[in-house]
């Protein structure tokens, strides 16, 4: 808090005489009592102005924020004081005429940051902009306006938009009034574009809701000789009473001669058409329509007869145009001098303008516009003529080089989209922003029969309901037939050892099975054996010179080969000689009778051989067992027999189908247990 002395000093600096009421003549000391609020306001304003200037020079808004916090009053009062202060600073800058555009812009930046800081009202930046633009000449307004354009996002943000949009609109309209459409076309365009970006599409102030025409757009041309520019020079000079110079004029009363013959007939008819384009409602009147018809037919006949060529001369011109950067052709109004008529007729762009005018006019005449009065209706003849002429116009458009076809398609497309805009207008220009939809009551379930995809596979556990319990059960066993066929449970082909186990057993001479009872003699068995061998055994395909008298003999040899290879099951090996020689204890019957498909090895019999028992470790190295596995075996059991068994079991697990007798025999031999190996291979 500052003392009142401080305030008084500030005020003194600001100019006490301004505050002195001329009628009351109250002194400063007295003034304190009588004008407390005004004093405070002016003190504050001066202080803030000084701080603002300081902020500008230091390029930070801190001094201003500090000042704001120091001055007395509530938020609203302080804010309005700052508004005034900033406007005052700007006013001073403008009056001093020493500031540049950048200075003004930095002040406006300051005001924007003040709004963000919350010390200034949101309308102030806009008021400042308006003030600046009102006071500056147009070339500087250009720079200020660039700033406005660049900050569209700021203006559109929540804090600024509602406060500032009307100010911006007024500001832009004021600028547009000052500018000339033909001299400052680009600037006018920029302003329009800025407004288009600022406001949403359905903003009413930017719309021509009533579909009114620009009736002021009158095309002037020479309707009779008096108005002709040809005669003007002559009459002016005559009025001045000057001597007519020799050789300057032609005959006495004739206008100055022009150098080319002019078709006035076409000239007048052609430019009269522009009046119908300006005010299309005239077309609904019968007599005007007749004139329009006649003149249009003549003009279009000229266009039809006078075809534009795109031969070498104009191609060169086109290339020049393209080379110059594809300059855009633009003009604000038609030039209607009669001397230009020939040149205009031979210009592609001019023709395109005129033909496009026709198409737009026809679209209006035919279209459903809400604001047309009820008398504006075409009769059948008119409609027919319009349709025929539309076809002719499109044909002429296509013939105009360059790229006539492309242009015509583009025009057609654009006019089609116009229909959408037309209906939008008829509906009163509704906003394009989609509203959140309110949830309606849930839809009634449709009675339509569902497609199969809808009810198949949708039940719990993705079950498919066939409509019948039994069918459902059957179908859900497996939905896919092919997958079902591939499943393991359908693997009916037996393995070799399974099928041949009996034969192998019978082949063992120790079992003393008589020849005639051997299963290999059974032709049925034999056939099945052959089939199985062809699917599973490589021996089937090995060429051999051996001649077999019968299938049974062949099968015998195969069986003996297989017996050597197949991992033998304890179930059958129980009867082998190996077991018998070394068997002291009975093998637990469960193990024997399980008859597992993944083969046990013949480990048990070896265990009974005490020689191996303690020396299982020697075998282990030849069975390529890892040290870790050996340690595991040792920890699992203390009994050496058990350890030997574990070894063999581990080996079998690892080898799987490779856990064959042959491999075991090889390892045993390598380990030095040849006796055991021989016993094993004999069995």
């Amino acid at each position: 808090a500052f003392s009142s002395d401080h305030w008084r000093r500030c005020l003194y600096v600001g100019g006490w005489s301004e505050l002195f009421c001329p009628y009351c003549k109250i002194s400063p000391q007295q003034g304190d009592a009588f004008f407390p609020l005004l004093n405070v306001f002016l003190f504050s304003r001066t202080h803030l102005q000084a701080s603002a200037r300081c902020a500008l020079t230091t390029k930070t808004s801190k001094p201003l924020i500090n000042a704001f916090n120091q001055i007395p009053g509530n938020e609203t009062e302080k804010k309005s004081t700052l508004d005034q202060a900033l406007r005052g600073v700007l006013g001073d800058q403008i009056i001093e005429q020493k500031a540049s555009c950048d200075d003004y812009l930095s002040l406006i930046y300051l005001s924007i940051s003040s709004v963000t800081e919350g010390i200034c009202s949101a309308t102030t930046p806009f008021l400042l902009l308006g003030d600046v633009l009102d006071c500056l000449p147009l070339d500087q307004c250009d720079k200020i306006f660039s700033f406005v354009e660049e900050n569209v996002s700021t203006w559109k943000s929540n804090s600024f938009y509602t406060a500032g949009k009307n100010y911006l609109l007024r500001m832009c309209n004021d600028l547009l009034r000052r500018l000339s459409k033909s001299q400052n076309t680009v600037f006018c365009g920029r302003i329009q574009l800025f407004l288009a970006r600022l406001f949403p599409l359905s903003e009413k102030s930017g719309l021509n809701l009533q579909s009114q025409f620009n009736l002021d757009n009158i095309t002037v041309f020479n309707k009779n000789e008096q108005e002709s520019t040809l005669g003007q020079k002559h009459t002016e000079e005559k009025e001045d009473g000057m001597e007519v110079e020799e050789g300057e004029m032609g005959e006495d009363d004739a206008p100055a001669p022009c150098s080319i013959p002019i078709d006035y007939n076409l000239y007048r008819k052609f430019w009269t058409l522009q009046d119908y384009f300006r005010n299309p409602v005239q077309c609904y009147d019968k007599f005007s329509w007749m004139t329009f018809l006649k003149f249009s037919d003549e003009t279009l006949a000229v266009f039809k007869s006078y075809k534009l060529d795109d031969m070498q001369a104009s191609k060169r011109k086109l290339e020049e145009l393209r080379a110059s950067g594809g300059e855009h052709v633009y003009f604000a109004k038609f030039l209607t001098s009669e001397k230009l008529m020939d040149l205009q007729l031979s210009d592609s762009n001019f023709r395109r303008h005129i033909l496009l005018q026709y198409l737009i006019l026809f679209q209006y005449l035919k279209g459903q516009v809400k604001f047309k009065s009820s008398s504006c209706v075409l009769n059948d003849d008119q409609t027919t003529w319009i349709e025929e002429t539309t076809k002719l116009v499109y044909q002429l458009l296509r013939e105009i080089p360059p790229d006539g076809d492309k242009f015509a398609t583009m025009v057609e497309h654009i006019l089609n989209t116009e229909e959408n805009w037309n209906s939008w207008k008829n509906e009163g220009c509704p906003s394009f922003v989609k509203e959140r939809t309110v949830d309606d009551k849930p839809k009634r379930p449709t009675r339509k029969r569902q497609a199969p995809e809808d009810f198949l596979g949708k039940g719990p556990d993705r079950k498919i309901f066939m409509g019948n319990d039994e069918l459902t059960r059957l179908w859900n066993l497996n939905q896919d037939n092919m997958e079902a066929c591939k499943s393991d449970s359908r693997e009916f082909m037996p393995s070799l050892d399974e099928f041949f186990a009996e034969a192998i057993e019978q082949a063992d001479p120790a079992n003393m099975v008589e020849e005639e009872y051997k299963v290999v003699r059974n032709p049925n068995y034999g056939w099945r054996a052959l089939r199985l061998l062809s699917r599973r055994s490589p021996h089937f395909f090995q060429p051999t010179n051996q001649k077999f008298k019968s299938l049974a003999d062949y099968l015998d040899s195969m069986v003996s080969k297989l017996a050597k290879e197949l991992p033998v099951r304890i179930f059958y090996f129980f009867n082998s000689s190996l077991l018998k020689t070394h068997n002291d204890k009975d093998i637990p019957s469960e193990e024997i009778k399980t008859g597992e498909e993944d083969d046990d090895d013949n480990g048990d019999n070896l265990l009974k051989d005490t020689k191996l028992g303690a020396q299982w470790k020697m075998l282990a190295s030849h069975l390529e067992m890892k040290a870790a596995e050996l340690r595991e075996i040792e920890t699992d059991s203390e009994d050496v027999d058990m350890q030997a068994k574990l070894l063999l079991v581990a080996w079998q697990d690892r080898e799987g189908t490779q856990a064959t007798v042959e491999n075991l025999v090889t390892a045993l031999n390598a380990a030095g247990f040849s006796q055991i190996a021989d016993n094993l291979s004999e069995a």
């Binding site: 020479n222 009779n224 000789e225 002709s228 001669p257 022009c258 150098s259 080319i260 013959p261 002019i262 078709d263 006035y264 007939n265 076409l266 006949a301 000229v302 007869s305 006078y306 075809k307 060529d309 031969m311 009669e338 020939d342 007729l345 031979s346």
Partner: protein
């Protein structure tokens, strides 16, 4: 002139006045009409401006040929040539200055004169017509000084090759003959129909149009319109125009041709037809460009109709003058 006569009228010849402000046109009834171009082209022209300022009967038969000199209008009719003064005509005085008749061998039938041309070197008039010959009239002395014989059938068209002082004539016999004006002898004879590129046997061999600019020659008729190089006497390009062409002219880098068909053909020297501008008569006989005045520089065409089409811009018909 009743409506039936108007319906059957054909315009055969045209000529512009030396000042360029008037057009004279001759029709099949032997009449010559004078039209004021300045009135028709002025900003406040009315329907009346498109009517003749003067119409008079010049000959008994059709006026097939009209020619303008510095101050005279020469017209050819039924075997005779008449001369009129332009200044007198503009004042609506229709008395001819003189009328002359070439020496025809036979006095029973009077051959028509189809075409005339002026040899400015020795101020003589060359006329060609139905007696298969060309007659040279000395304008200074008013006597026929030479007869050029060579054609075996009547002569359709005559033109002058200025630089070499040669006369070119085309005839019904299909031959284009070149004559030396001093010796009155035929120096060349081209049978156009014998050249395959030009020949159109279905139309015949007659040559109805002939024009030259000293190096090049355009000729056409039965055979198709073709451009010839005169030094080498060979055709360089032919123009694919249907129908027989009756008159052709060089214009800037284009060729304008009229003939059968209600249009004026614009062709390029290479042989392409650039454009065909529609006009009102069903077929055209005569084509003239007004080179005597820049502000009235129009193209006019006339044919089997009482209307003469005027083109201010070569690419479309502006309006028509009518008898």
């Amino acid at each position: 002139m009743g409506p039936v006569e108007l319906l059957h009228m054909s315009v055969f010849s045209q000529s512009f006045s030396p000042c360029g402000r008037f057009l004279a046109a001759g029709n099949n009834y032997g009449e010559i009409a004078l039209f004021s171009l300045s009135a028709a082209l002025s900003p406040d022209a009315t329907g009346l401006s498109q009517k003749p300022v003067l119409t008079f009967t010049a000959h008994e038969g059709p006026v097939f040929s009209l020619l303008s000199t510095d101050c005279h209008l020469l017209s050819a009719g039924n075997g005779e040539v008449s001369a009129w003064s332009w200044t007198e005509l503009i004042k609506k005085n229709v008395k001819p200055l003189w009328t002359k008749r070439p020496n025809y061998k036979s006095s029973l039938e009077i051959p028509e004169i189809n075409s005339m041309t002026i040899n400015s070197r020795d101020n003589s008039l060359i006329v060609g017509g139905g007696d298969n010959n060309l007659h040279v009239l000395d304008l200074e002395h008013g006597v026929f000084k030479a007869v050029l014989q060579g054609h075996s059938d009547y002569v359709h068209c005559v033109t002058m090759r200025e630089r070499e002082a040669e006369i070119l004539s085309g005839g019904e016999d299909g031959a284009v003959r070149m004559w030396d004006s001093r010796t009155a002898q035929s120096v060349h004879c081209i049978d156009v129909y014998k050249y395959e590129s030009c020949a159109r046997p279905q139309f015949g061999k007659w040559i109805s149009c002939l024009t030259t600019d000293s190096d090049w020659m355009l000729c056409g008729g039965g055979p198709s319109l073709s451009l010839w190089h005169l030094r080498s006497l060979s055709p360089t390009s032919t123009f694919p125009l249907s129908g027989c062409q009756r008159q052709a002219a060089f214009y800037q880098d284009m060729i304008l041709a009229v003939g059968e068909g209600p249009f004026v053909s614009h062709c390029l020297l290479g042989g392409d037809v650039k454009a065909q501008i529609p006009c009102s008569p069903q077929s055209l006989n005569t084509l003239q460009l007004n080179t005597n005045s820049t502000e009235h520089r129009v193209l006019t065409v006339g044919g089997s109709s009482a209307h003469i089409d005027v083109f201010t811009n070569l690419s479309y018909r502006a309006f028509s003058l009518s008898f």
